[in-house]
């Protein structure tokens, strides 16, 4: 086939055109016309954290607590439904993955039949004398854990989005990890971001039943012998039977009120808050104001209305932040005052707005890269890419003459294809990623070398130039494929195993290998045929 194959020429032209289009976003950035995004991908290459600076956090989600969370939701629902039906409940207690509801009479138990049945698909139900027990089944528990993680991801995404940093990335990794990347975050942002993410932010409003300057005194008042370690260990349970819970006061609570006893169950929780924002108390100090609407307002109204004269404990993450006296029925709003700094108040409001984390999270890994490292890295990456490229180009021309120039042209198109595809998929470029590009340059030449050396051999045994070129490309095809497939294999394994910057390297290497094979085998041949095809006996400059 002497004339350059028309089919391949069209393929090359189309791919070149597409890659140029894919690269537009990377180079033009914000000056892209607005209609661009509707027709073509507009993401462009992203810069990794090591090139841009920022914060990277890997969170582990402790989904074991998902069960508690689910049970408390079911509990609320049962209480509400029982109320609707006019059934009086004696107690509802949770234990591990079971919830036991005790009633006052057998006829009440009968009335709960429908209610029980509605949980049949998520739990196994057993009946006692005057009670029934729901035990969550494993499939449902697994599902709740998954749901918990998705919720965690959503809450964290909300929080980070509100923080106001450009383009944060929150991803779920595997079954219990969440990856957060905040490019461009500064050093001072880092601590705030961590605080925002770490806060479980469970807000509860409970009525205060008793206070004391220390734990022992308080417990003693409620029939718990504080000299007996066994009793102390079971204190929480004992209190729960009395419908009480124990909480420490905050750092700035009054000296005689370091510990509080409140109702066991919250009348209202943070999830009924419709809005929370930075506010100022009567002394002009930063505080957090919150609002209720609809169901939340009526619940809060009921809680305060029924308890005028008592104190309302505002419990955040298991600590009593403040406990004002209820003077009046409140429905619409309230305020949390504490010794807040401005940032602390802002961040707490943010956290309350975005909702509580259903389960706690733990930071497994953190990287914070400063901006100067990013700038240096980009400069160095660019320099080595250009230097490597120039060296290779010069060498090819020097050693292989005109075929060398052809190889260079193919190499240039190769890089274009490579960058185009990376850009089209919005790949994140890291410093090792740039190293991968440079390496691809070096290895791309290998394919050409294999083919050209073969052409030389064919010429040496006496073939005509055209025949030699054809034989060279034909004979070496499988060699080139074999060699590159195995390198691709290792690059893909690296992709699977690597994290962060390493993954960037694996991506550029993998895509590079594919585009290299294409450019070695197809593009170079097409260009070569184009130049030599029409001539009959011209000698090959190689």
């Amino acid at each position: 086939m002497r004339r350059a194959s028309k089919g391949w020429i069209s393929v090359i032209v189309v791919v070149t055109f597409l890659c140029l289009i894919f690269l537009m976003p990377t180079f033009l950035g914000d000056s892209l016309p607005s209609w661009w995004g509707k027709v073509f991908p507009k993401k462009g290459l992203r810069l990794g954290l090591d090139l841009k600076g920022g914060v990277y956090l890997l969170l582990g989600v402790e989904s074991g607590n998902a069960v508690d969370h689910e049970l408390s939701g079911i509990r609320e629902s049962i209480v509400a439904q029982a109320k609707e039906k006019g059934i009086l409940l004696r107690s509802v207690t949770a234990d591990g993955k079971s919830l036991t509801v005790t009633l006052f009479s057998k006829s009440d138990l009968k009335k709960t039949k429908e209610l029980r049945a509605s949980y049949a698909d998520i739990a196994s139900i057993s009946e006692g004398n005057l009670s029934f027990t729901l035990t969550l089944n494993d499939a449902f528990i697994k599902q709740s854990m998954r749901k918990a993680i998705d919720q965690v991801k959503e809450v964290i995404t909300n929080r980070i989005d509100e923080f106001g940093v450009l383009e944060p990335i929150v991803q779920r990794l595997g079954s219990d990890r969440i990856l957060i990347q905040v490019p461009g975050a500064s050093v001072s942002d880092r601590q705030r971001i961590i605080n925002i993410i770490n806060r479980t932010a469970v807000l509860e409003f409970k009525i205060v039943r008793d206070t004391a300057p220390d734990k022992a005194t308080l417990l003693a008042k409620h029939n718990i012998d504080t000299t007996d370690p066994a009793q102390m260990a079971l204190a929480k349970k004992t209190l729960a039977q009395q419908n009480l819970a124990l909480y420490p006061g905050g750092d700035d609570s009054r000296a005689n009120e370091k510990f509080f006893l409140t109702d066991l169950h919250a009348g209202v929780t943070g999830k009924y808050i419709s809005d929370a924002k930075l506010s100022f108390d009567s002394y002009g100090r930063p505080a957090v104001g919150f609002n209720f609407k609809g169901e939340g307002a009526s619940k809060f109204g009921k809680l305060t209305g029924e308890n005028i004269g008592k104190r309302l404990a505002i419990v955040l993450d298991g600590v009593v932040k403040s406990a004002p006296t209820i003077n009046d029925r409140i429905t619409a709003s309230g305020i949390i005052t504490r010794r807040f700094t401005l940032d602390e108040a802002k961040d707490l409001a943010l956290v309350l707005r975005s909702g509580a984390l259903p389960v706690p999270v733990k930071v497994l890994e953190e990287r914070s890269v400063g901006p100067s490292l990013g700038r240096d890295s980009i400069a160095q990456g660019r320099l080595s890419l250009i230097a490597g490229g120039v060296l290779v180009l010069l060498f090819m021309v020097f050693y292989y003459r005109v075929q060398g120039v052809i190889a260079n042209a193919a190499l240039a198109l190769n890089m274009l294809f490579l960058m185009g595809f990376l850009s089209a998929f919005g790949v994140t470029l890291t410093l090792p990623g740039i190293a991968g590009l440079v390496l691809t340059l070096g290895m791309a030449v290998d394919g050409n070398v294999i083919i050209f050396e073969r052409i030389k051999e064919e010429l040496r045994i006496g073939k005509t130039s055209n025949a030699a070129i054809d034989a060279g490309y034909g004979r070496s095809l499988w060699t080139v494929l074999d060699a590159n497939i195995t390198t691709l294999l290792t690059a893909l394994i690296l992709f699977w195993f690597g994290t962060g910057p390493i993954k960037g390297f694996a991506v550029t290497l993998s895509v590079g290998i594919v585009s290299t094979v294409f450019s070695n085998v197809v593009v170079a041949k097409v260009i070569s045929d184009f130049i030599y095809g029409s001539r009959k006996t011209a000698s090959v400059s190689i």
Binding site: D50, L58, G60, K362, V363, L364, E365, E366, R367, S368, V369, G370, S372, L373, D376, Q380, G381, L383, S384, A387, G388, L391, V392, F395, Y399, Y400, R401, L431, P432, A435, V438, L439, L441, G442, M443, V445, D446, V449, I450, E453, K456, R475, T479, D482, A483, N484, T486, T487, L489, T490, A491, I493, L494, W496, F497, G498, I502, F505, A506, L509
Partner: protein
């Protein structure tokens, strides 16, 4: 044209025994270094802890950095110079007990004090601070191990399909050789064993197989052609025929690695170094190890037949 192949007909096969001995010597040096240093110099990703990359303005020595950090009540597990001396970049690693996740802010302000002070830390920049929890480290070691084993198996399978069993085995032996030599160099220089090193090792595997395959491909082609010459001569001729390509490819990849080594900055510098050692071993092993093994296998088969 400037041919390298000038009817040289280098007798590679006879040199294979010597080559094997040289490799063995190098590998033993590597193992000795490992023992002397009491195990590899694990990077922070594998053992957990806090790692700080500092770029100094003033010239400073590794021991001095260590002393100053000790004086500031933050004794470092390891202090490594990154890249070339003129980069003035250092990597400091602290165990999680010394600088845990909760203490990072405190640590940072301690560093800032040193930087603002009048000592040798003055004007330095904190390039990055990484914290790795211990679970991640253990996982990573496991994963790295898997990755390399998986690489072996995958390549072995592919080669068995495309060539025959002895070829596949020969290639795998060459890979093992390359990894051992590269690791030997790292242990000898007591360089930090990080994720980047593992990435470099996997790349070396890729390159080495690449190289080996080109030679095997030629052997296979020649096998198909003539039955006249003995296997040894056939292998030797195949090696000679592919010699120019082998050297040229080695040379061009080395060119770009030199560019990375000199210009790529501290971290890439070490990465390029590992690759340079690796591809040298890879080229060497493709010529002297892989083919030698194939010959040895054939001989054994022939003598037992």
């Amino acid at each position: 044209m400037y041919p390298i192949y000038l009817d040289l007909k280098i007798d590679f096969v006879s040199k294979m025994k010597v080559a094997a001995l040289i490799s063995l010597a190098l590998i033993l040096i590597g193992i000795a270094s490992l023992l002397i240093h009491h195990g590899p110099n694990w990077g922070v990703e594998f053992v957990g802890g806090t790692e700080v990359q500092l770029k100094f303005q003033k010239s400073i020595e590794t021991d001095v950095v260590r002393k100053i950090m000790e004086g500031a009540r933050y004794p470092a597990e390891s202090v490594q110079q990154l890249g070339l001396p003129q980069d003035k970049e250092y990597l400091l690693r602290f165990s999680p007990d010394v600088v845990g996740f909760d203490k990072i802010e405190l640590f940072r302000s301690g560093l800032n004090k040193l930087i603002a002070g009048n000592g040798l830390f003055r004007g330095a920049t904190v390039q990055r601070i990484d914290f790795i929890g211990p679970q991640i480290g253990k996982e990573l070691i496991r994963k790295a191990f898997f990755a390399i084993i998986l690489g072996w198996i995958g390549i072995m399978l592919y080669l068995m399909i495309r060539f025959e069993f002895s070829f596949a085995l020969g290639a795998v032996i060459a890979i093992i050789h390359d990894i051992l030599i590269t690791l030997g160099a790292i242990f000898f220089l007591d360089k930090e064993f990080t994720l980047v090193v593992v990435a470099a090792l996997l790349t070396v595997i890729g390159y080495s197989v690449n190289d080996t395959i080109v030679i095997f491909d030629r052997i296979r082609e020649n096998l198909g052609k003539t039955q006249k010459i003995g296997f040894r001569e056939l292998v030797s001729e195949s090696l000679n025929q592919t010699l120019s390509r082998t050297i040229l490819t080695y040379f061009t990849v080395l060119l770009v690695l030199i560019a990375l080594f000199l210009l790529g900055g501290a971290v890439i510098h070490d990465f390029a170094f590992t690759l340079m050692v690796g591809i040298t071993a890879g080229t060497y092993s493709s010529i002297f190890m892989a083919s030698a093994f194939v010959i040895y296998w054939r001989d054994k088969r022939a003598s037992s037949a």
